[in-house]
Structures are given as C-alpha cells and as structure tokens.
C-alpha cells in the first residue's frame, strides 16, 4: 500500500473539480455535525460538565464512510483518475507525534476549533475564527522541516 504509483499524471480540471466538491461536502458535513460551533465542541470536551456526546458520533460516521473509500482505493490499487496515490507511510509512534498532538489538543480545548471548522467558520464571517486561523497558519508555517526530520 505504501508503494507510490509510478505516474507522471498531474491535476486536470476534472480532478480539481473533484477536490473542490470534496472540500464542499467536507464543509457541509462539519456544519451539519455542529463542529463549526465552538460551544458545541466545548460541550463535548467538557466531560465533567453537562456532557454532549454528539461529536463522538461524528467520528463514528466519518470513520465508517472513509473506511469504504480506503478499502475501495486499496482494492483498485489506485485512484479512479490515474493520479498517484499519496498514502502516508506507516512509521513508528515518535516524540514529535506525541508532543505535537498534545499541543494541538491544548489549542483545540482553548478555542473549541480544530483546523477544518476554523476555515469553514471564516466562510460565514464568524469573527472568533479569524484570530484562530491567523495563529494556525503561522504555526503551520513557522517550523523548519528539518527540525521535524522531514
């Protein structure tokens, strides 16, 4: 699964339309699920308060349907378009993964926004999302790749 396909195909208008539609469906899913409402997200993260378990079901629905896509692409051995398949290589659990995930969890719990919903919230002019996205883009940009061994 981790061997990349040998292909020099690049994006076409059709594949870009696919990415646009995927982003649109993804955003609609986040909105319908309530992920773009930080109060609802924090209601899920507050297990000691009045706990709203909804977001656990977002994960269940997302994983179940994404699993179908993963199995389909594995069965075909590639994409429908012939574009190369960029599957992550399975690497061991390492320190950057654990430290990074802890930092991400801190930020998620402080703001009630993870990356996707923050971007979608910009699309409906939700003002608190603007500083979150600004900080996020700086954080994604600032670390040199060689620090991360990439």
């Amino acid at each position: 699964m981790s061997t990349p396909q040998l292909s020099d195909k690049t994006d076409t208008l059709g594949s870009l339309a696919g990415a646009l539609v995927a982003g649109l469906i993804f955003g609609l899913g986040l909105l319908l699920a309530g992920m773009t409402n930080p109060a609802k997200v924090l209601g899920f993260l507050d297990i000691a308060g009045a706990w709203d378990p909804s977001l656990a079901l977002v994960m269940v629905g997302g994983i179940a349907v994404a699993r179908i896509g993963v199995l389909a692409v594995r069965r075909r051995g590639g994409t429908l378009t012939g574009l190369p398949l960029h599957m992550p290589h399975e690497r061991p659990v390492d320190r950057p993964l654990l430290i990074g995930s802890a930092l991400f969890g801190l930020g998620w719990g402080l703001a009630g926004f993870c990356p996707g919903p923050a971007v979608v919230a910009i699309g409906f002019d939700y003002l608190p999302a603007f500083p979150v996205v600004a900080g996020m883009l700086i954080g994604l940009w600032v670390l040199p790749s060689k620090w991360l061994g990439r």
């Binding site: 396909q5 993804f26 990074g100 995930s101 930092l103 402080l110 900080g135």
Partner: protein, 151 residues
C-alpha cells in the same frame, strides 16, 4: 457522568460525520490524497508546488456556508460578538498551538481522527488518544479548576 440530552444531536452528528467520510473518500479516489485539513493548509503555506488541488479543496470549505445557507437550517451558523483584545489574544494563541501541534504531529482531527483511523493506523490512534486527552484536560482545568478564567 451527566449527559446533556437537550443538546445531544445524534442524527445530525452521524449524518455530518458521514458527509465528512464521503468527502475523504472522494478526495482519495479522485485525487489520491488524504483529507487532512492541517496537512492541506501546511502545503499551501509551505510547499513550493502542488498547490492547485489544495486551493480547490480549501475553496470548497470556504464556500460550504453559502451552500449550507440554502440546504441546512439556520441554526448551523453560530453567532458571536466581536472578540475583545484579551479574547482575541487567547484565540490567537490557541490557533498557534493548533498549527504548531498539527504540523509536528502531521495531522489533526481529520487526517488522524477520521482518515488515519479509517486506515487503522497505529500512529493515528496514538495521536487521537493524546489530542483528545489534552483537550479534555484543558477544558476541565479552564471550566472546573480555574473558575472565572475564561471560556
């Protein structure tokens, strides 16, 4: 444990999750890419090439509220007052932590939480356990240990 039944929305949560999984499947089958939002954004702000599909995907995310306004009930759009200076700084720092953390960990709630677990990745399972634990922990501290300290 005290469940907030009045705010529990199981069907829209499952349906919204299914749409997210469908979008991840489309991006994988058409573009051969993992729908990890932090990775897609990192590629936009860092990588020299390979921007077109990322821009197309992010454009779809940004356009989703327009389409949602036509097909989803209005209550999917929360409203908020403009944040004050202190609140803006808190949100900026939170965003910075999200950006730094997801870049170090190579993924967020979508890349690890949905796509990674759908691939049965051990790394993603570890990432999800750690970021959920940290998020539960910080909300507990802010809401129950430091009363009056925000959020």
């Amino acid at each position: 444990m005290n469940i907030a039944w009045s705010t529990f929305t199981p069907w829209s949560a499952l349906a919204g999750g299914a749409l997210i999984g469908l979008a991840a499947s489309v991006l994988l089958l058409v573009n051969g890419r993992i729908a990890g939002i932090s990775g897609i954004l990192a590629g936009l702000v860092r990588a020299p090439g390979d921007r077109a599909w990322r821009l197309a995907f992010v454009s779809g995310l940004l356009a989703a509220p327009l389409v949602a306004g036509l097909v989803l009930p209005q209550h999917v759009f929360p409203t908020a007052l403009p944040p004050g200076i202190q609140e803006t700084l808190r949100l900026l720092v939170a965003g910075l932590l999200v950006g730094l953390g997801t870049r170090m960990a190579n993924g967020c709630t979508s890349g690890h939480g949905v796509c990674g677990l759908a691939r049965l990745s051990l790394r993603s399972l570890a990432a999800v356990a750690v970021f959920m634990g940290a998020a539960f922990g910080v909300v507990f501290v802010v809401r129950h240990v430091l009363p009056g300290a925000g959020a």
